[in-house]
């Protein structure tokens, strides 16, 4: 697609027309190129590896759910005056679509984990039975939390950042959304606002982490079993993850990462980058989230990402 063709397609859609086939073809081209150039890590694939089938599945799902159903194609076209800007937005959009899918797929065993932690941890105490059983902090308030969803979400946000993790590619489908300590911190923080049922705690988790109801476990397991992920040389895998991680970082995040590694204080880094300290804090959180999704590969990938940034920065 040329710049002129893009301008024409953009004008047509903004005027209320259907997106031309060439525009949709360019979207699919973007996804394929991203995969072929290692711009998307293999664990973002719904089957853990970037086969042709996985790529087709992702393209179809992304176009149907995000671009069409949610109207994101229109949103991107409005904001992208030029083809290169549109392509950059398409890359971000498909990556975000895959990350969201990763988060959703990891919620299957969350309810059990929350229930087990409430049962097994001494700092939590329960009263009542069944689905109405109320949980509280052993040394916390015993009045029921009576806020609505908005207030519940406010309490959940107030606990700060939580890192969504993945242990390794093979365990991807059944891995927990949060590490055990993080999950306990989340539940404990909620119960400081009042006693709650397990259902209310799950509701808070869903609201805070934008988790949809889990798909049937059998379907998830079948998808995991269907993985045809080969066992490539670890070195190749790590190299691809480094490229994919660099692709996922923004320019500002890369500079924050360099600053952190150089021990530059947040305030000074903000001055250097011409932004606020709040922005530095936000970017640190986004970087941590990207690395957390790498699971056990994160330390090695981070080291090599920094090597790559410093080499090119020298």
């Amino acid at each position: 697609m040329t710049d002129a063709e893009y301008a024409s397609a953009r004008a047509a859609v903004l005027a209320g027309g259907d997106p031309p086939a060439e525009l949709m073809a360019d979207c699919l081209r973007t996804v394929r190129l991203l995969v072929r150039t290692a711009g998307l890590p293999p664990h973002y694939s719904p089957v853990g590896v970037w086969s042709d089938e996985a790529m087709d599945e992702v393209c179809a799902d992304w176009v149907a759910v995000r671009l069409v159903d949610r109207g994101q194609l229109l949103a991107m076209l409005q904001r992208a005056p030029a083809l290169r800007v549109f392509r950059r937005m398409a890359e971000t959009s498909v990556r975000q679509h895959l990350v969201d899918g990763l988060t959703r797929s990891q919620s299957a065993n969350l309810y059990d984990r929350v229930a087990r932690r409430l049962d097994e941890t001494e700092r939590f105490a329960g009263s009542g039975s069944g689905s109405g059983r109320l949980w509280r902090l052993a040394d916390g308030p015993d009045t029921p939390f009576d806020g609505d969803d908005r207030q519940l979400l406010g309490v959940a946000w107030a606990m700060g950042e939580f890192h969504v993790i993945r242990y390794d590619a093979e365990a991807r489908k059944l891995s927990p959304l949060l590490e055990a300590e993080e999950l306990e911190r989340f539940v404990g923080g909620l119960l400081e606002a009042g006693t709650m049922t397990t259902g209310t705690i799950m509701r808070a988790l869903r609201l805070r982490f934008a988790i949809e109801d889990p798909a049937p476990a059998g379907e998830l397991d079948a998808a995991a079993d269907a993985s045809t992920r080969p066992d490539p040389e670890a070195e190749v895998v790590i190299a691809e993850l480094v490229t994919a991680t660099l692709a996922e970082l923004t320019s500002r995040q890369a500079k924050v990462l360099i600053g952190i590694d150089n021990g530059v204080p947040g305030r000074e880094l903000a001055v250097q980058l011409g932004c606020s300290t709040g922005t530095i804090s936000h970017e640190r959180g986004r970087i941590a989230a990207i690395l957390a999704r790498l699971g056990t590969d994160a330390p090695e990938v981070l080291k090599r990402v920094l090597d790559a940034l410093f080499t090119e920065n020298a």
Binding site: D3, L14, T30, L33, L34, T37, A38, G39, R70, G71, A75, M76, Q78, R79, A80, P81, A82, R84, V85, R87, R88, E91, R150, Q151, L152, L153, G154, V155, A156, W157, A158, G160, E161, A210, V242, T243, L246, A247, L249, T250, S251, R252, Q253, A254, K255, I258, C275, S276, G278, T279, S281, H282, E283, G285, V305, A308, L309, T311, E312, N313
Partner: protein, 322 residues
């Protein structure tokens, strides 16, 4: 700094074609060094230029427009809350709704065709020249909701029916996300704010020259205007009509990276109005005074000043291509 698409960084001629960007972006340099440059050559990397304004009426309250700024390669979609001759009050409409708080208003997909978030706290003014095209029109009900939200927020009152949960702690990551958004929107609002540091053009240009670090002597020499005269103009003490030729003023506006806009023209008009003076006494009267040893004060003729200001403004408007 916004980066090119990842796939452009894989082009065979990425290192040369994207050189300007790569020189300031460690992330993209690292990617170019790693990828195998297997994609077709870019040929050329178009330099973004000011878009042509859409034909038709200017922004009106209730319109949803795209807005641009010289330092941004993406447009910002925003609702127009108020409009004037040279400026517009806007509220951005974001496609990303994750960070919604009690100071945001959610718009359901029926309004724009996708779920959007109006960050009330991020509303501000832009120059009317930054409006590119209209993409939608809000219903009276939605415009009233956004306007009421704006009024409430700036009166320190809660926004009715907010789009997100309240921020209850400094640990809330939405605070950082909002700070990042504010930083990202700063280039959109800076063309307006750069032109509102003073009410005359000279002091506005002077402050901008200081910001970009140009010395008065060198800058005056570049413009071919005497430093004493340019200094007086920047200090708000000289009449540009008499002291600064219009082409030099156009050169200064462009050279300092200010947006060519009606606001610039209006500031110039005010400068002339404030400082234009003319000898209006008759020769005979002047002779009589001289005999008495009286030096007459320079007299201002409001009509002459207005005519000079209009003439100068019209010439500057033409010079700036407005």
């Amino acid at each position: 700094m916004t980066c090119p698409p990842f796939t452009e960084l894989c082009a065979t001629d990425a290192s040369t074609r994207l050189g300007d960007h790569l020189s300031g972006c460690p992330r993209c340099r690292a990617i170019v060094a790693r990828v195998d440059e297997a994609e077709p050559a870019l040929g050329h990397a178009p330099t973004p230029s000011a878009p042509q304004p859409a034909p038709g009426p200017p922004p009106e309250p209730g319109g949803v427009w795209t807005f641009w700024a010289p330092a941004m390669d993406e447009y910002v979609v925003a609702a127009v809350l108020e409009s004037g001759a040279d400026e517009v009050l806007i509220m951005p409409l974001l496609g990303e709704t994750l960070w919604a708080s009690e100071a945001d208003i959610a718009l359901d997909p029926g309004v724009l065709g996708y779920a959007a978030l109006a960050p009330v706290w991020a509303s501000d003014r832009v120059l009317v020249e930054q409006a590119v095209e209209t993409v939608s029109v809000l219903s009276e009900q939605h415009l009233a909701a956004l306007t009421a939200g704006y009024d409430a927020f700036y009166a320190g009152e809660p926004v009715a029916d907010p789009g997100g949960a309240p921020v209850l702690s400094d640990e809330d990551p939405r605070l950082g996300a909002h700070a990042a958004l504010a930083d990202d929107l700063r280039p959109l609002y800076s063309p307006w704010s750069l032109l509102h540091v003073a009410e005359e053009l000279g002091p506005v240009l002077g402050q901008r020259r200081d910001e970009v670090g140009f010395e008065l002597e060198a800058w005056s020499e570049q413009l071919d205007v005497e430093p004493r005269i340019w200094g007086a103009f920047e200090a708000g003490e000289a009449d540009p009509y008499a002291a600064v030729p219009v082409p030099k003023l156009g050169q200064a506006v462009r050279g300092l990276g200010l947006l060519r806009s009606r606001r610039v023209v209006e500031l110039a008009r005010v400068s002339v109005l404030a400082h234009h003076s003319e000898e209006t006494v008759t020769a005979a009267a002047a002779q009589a005074r001289r005999r008495r040893g009286v030096v007459p004060p320079r007299r201002r003729d409001p009509e002459a000043a207005r005519a000079a200001a209009d003439h100068y403004a019209a010439a500057l408007e033409k010079e700036l291509g407005l």
